[in-house]
Amino acid sequence: MKFLDEYRDGELAQQLAGEIHRITTKPWNIMEVCGGQTHAIVKFGIDELLPKLITLIHGPGCPVCVTPLEMIDKALEIAARPGVVFASFGDMLRVPGSTTDLLTVKAAGGDVRMVYSPLDAVKLAEQNPGKEVVFFGVGFETTAPATAMAVYQAARMGLKNFSMLISHVLVPPAIDALMSSPGCRVQAFLAAGHVCAIMGYEEYPPLAAKYRVPIVVTGFEPLDILQGILMCVQQLESGRAGVENQYVRAVREQGNQPAQELVREVFRIVPRKWRGVGEIPASGLGLADAYAGFDAEKRFGLAGRHVDEPADCLSGLVLQGKIKPHECPAFGGRCTPEHPLGATMVSGEGACAAYHRYRRQSARS
């Protein structure tokens, strides 16, 4: 595939790794924010190509993983109601709530549908006027324009039977919270390439300056990640702390203006609870007043609730980069993709799932 395969060239990867080896003289901890980057690193063994002095810390960039337990429970409650069609992205279907998950609700007779695009949910509402169609809007800034467009089009069409359960989260406040938490060892960041394709990277210079950390906007293929790491190390070794763009083929500094405008029209910034991390102010998106009628929490009377996390799931520590998945006592035993304790094992981008799929043997040894 064009613009994909070329960035997986093994020889070029070795060349980039060789250059990283050549210039690294001190230990450095680099965090990749996005779960998609974590998976590429583990799957392609990128961390194993690096000098031992470089430690990659896996970040909380998995929106499925950080969706709070009470939000999942709300989704389950709505999905189980008669007359409701509950539409969701595929990777939310097996995330465990307090007692069950969406697939189990479906097996028990709930009308739960997997969709690829939020627009598919709008179509479902159009085609099923006698049903209440609810879409589970989970994701970072990459996904917010898509869900915003779904609400916008539903409003334009005057749809009365469509609503959205919203759990959108924003990356820069999470980086800020992480960097200011005690014991944080992160010295540089690979910023999430597709989040930045939407948002640009104008929000990052204040963070780079505040914490004196290089931030490199990075793509998702092996050559992208290796080049992003190289650019971080070049800055770290020379004492610089600025914002750079590795993913130039897809990201511009101002990002995608039409997408940002629609997100500003449909959503407003709200505080959000991140599963395993806690509430971070101004770190999420909720519906703007003009679109509040599409809020499923209001429509189904489910606002305001708190649920405690199960004690033996350490995904919070994994998401903050404080432990690696295989350091969790439940990993591979009580917690596997078939019966996960938490979202980091379920999600297609979760660090625990990545380690279980690609590293189980070496993690044990």
Partner: protein
């Protein structure tokens, strides 16, 4: 969730920019995607698609930068006589 992949725009339909769609070819698999956020996309362009929406047009000149950098690295090594 941030998984987005590049594909080639093969057809365009719709005059209203908000509802403009395109058929995008991902290495042989063809899916429809909204082009609402990439109004400048034309047939033959590559776009990055996520959740049924094109997010960004792939800049083909910039796409070569990684390889240029690597080529320059190799030439520099040869100049230094590293022989690596």
């Amino acid at each position: 969730m941030c998984l987005a992949i590049p594909g080639k725009v093969e057809t365009l339909s719709g005059d209203d920019p908000v509802t403009r769609m395109g058929r995008v070819n991902f290495g042989g698999v063809i899916k429809e995607a909204s082009l609402a956020f990439v109004p400048e996309a034309r047939i033959g362009d590559y776009v990055i698609v996520h959740a049924g929406f094109a997010l960004s047009k792939v800049d083909e000149d910039e796409a070569h930068k990684v390889f240029e950098y690597l080529r320059q690295m190799e030439e520099f090594d040869e100049l230094k006589g590293d022989g690596s």
